[in-house]
Symmetry: C2
Subunit: 232 residues, 2 copies
DNA sequence: GACATTAGTAGCAGCGCGCTACTTATTCGC
DNA sequence: GCGAATAAGTAGCGCGCTGCTACTAATGTC
């Protein structure tokens, strides 16, 4: 074990470094999720797309940068968002930032992108620069893991919604199908929604009852351990 | 809705800002968790304690800074660690960094702190500066949530261990008691450990069989939705 | 040998969850 | 009209996970 000189943290002098806040903004389109990308200047024939990003203005908090970014790229407030992590590995960033802090957010289906930004299928993002590609993957995993604990889907829907709409929103965000009866049973058990007196007929088929988000406090059990770990 | 000028991200010029990597390093002591703090220079009568932190050296990745920090504060490698998030709110940081990226890690019980750093009960950390206090809370929640998916406890233990030791490690990290029979049943079902032929007698009581960590691949089910969300 | 102490197990009861199969209510085609 | 198609919503079975009580097993202490 080699010798080391211990440094008192008060003498730590943080180096000035370039940092950006990058945004993974998602919206439903039909049965799939779309991702907002920024058109980069086309130098030559190639057209490049990037995640929207920006640096901080003076004494602006990280979350403030993210909120400003959202306002810059779409015409409405973000329904839900949270930080997905900081990325400062060797992978080159689009604007050569030393560290990029990624936020992931969702906006409703009809949300208009501002000029210079367009919605793309997630698969189209494979051409992003390496660091942004890593961010996107982490962001998607992050939002799917948060679905059980944060009302992401409810924020995405209007005040009143049908249970089928709710389930479709969950399926889109989770990227997998859910079973109808099980979904509703779990939803009832969680005391998250209350029915309204209204019903909506959507073309053919039986009309659906409208619900609203009205969570009631519940006991937080969670005693044991799950042991869901994957690899060593 | 006010007018906005859309900016192409290629024209984004990230501002140079001060940033640090801060470390929440945990170790078992008896039946409780200890936290490594750095003694700050005592100006006057007050003694202050801080989380270890440092800025990046040139072209050093965020994770590299964290690894270097660990080597600077204890005499062995970290058993497990991961990023806990970036903190860039208005709360004042100890060394006035604009953004602080928090890592949380664990080291075994006997780990020696280097000069200038000492182990403290978690409760003693209440006097940390505001941003570091927030980091600590997030870090603790983070490690507890990762327990189900990452072999944190197994990395903390020696090659061979008893199931009681394993359970105590889980209880310490989770901060709550677990039921013995349920813990072992779930552990068996997860195919995570295999018994050795050795038994260890620890003073009074029946000797305990030794196990080693030997995870086998399992099917990843996880179909439904949990609806564990807390508030609106 | 009685007792304390720790390791480890058996089995019950309840609930969460996936699934199949059903009923109900509406539109469409004829 | 009337049945087929379509979608909403429900009933209930079976199984596996989980919390719990209660037990057995093996050691040290007196």
């Amino acid at each position: 074990m080699r010798e080391r000189v211990s440094r008192a943290p008060t003498r730590v002098v943080p180096r000035r470094a370039l940092f950006t806040v990058d945004l993974v903004l998602l919206a439903p389109r039909g049965k799939h999720l779309m991702l907002l990308l920024a058109r980069a200047a086309t130098n030559g024939t190639k057209e490049r797309w990037l995640l929207p990003c920006d640096g901080p203005k003076k004494s602006e908090s990280v979350e403030a940068v993210a909120r400003r970014l959202v306002r810059d790229v779409v015409d409405r407030d973000v329904s839900w968002f949270e930080q997905a992590g900081a990325f400062g590995d060797a992978k080159r960033h689009a604007v050569t930032a030393d560290v990029s802090i990624c936020f992931v957010g969702v906006v409703p289906a009809q949300t208009q992108a501002r000029p210079g930004f367009t919605w793309h299928p997630i698969a189209d993002a494979a051409l992003l620069p390496p660091r942004q590609l890593g961010m996107l993957e982490t962001a998607l995993v992050g939002v799917r893991n948060r679905m059980d604990y944060a009302p992401v889907a409810f924020r995405l829907l209007p005040e009143e919604f049908t249970l089928s709409e709710l389930q479709q929103t969950y399926e889109m965000l989770l990227g997998r199908r859910l079973h109808k009866a099980s979904f509703r049973r779990a939803l009832q058990a969680a005391w998250l929604v209350e029915p309204t007196d209204e019903w909506r007929s959507e073309g053919r088929g039986r009309p659906a009852q409208l619900f609203r988000y009205a969570p009631r406090r519940r006991r937080g059990n969670r005693r044991g351990v799950r042991f869901d770990l994957l690899s060593g």
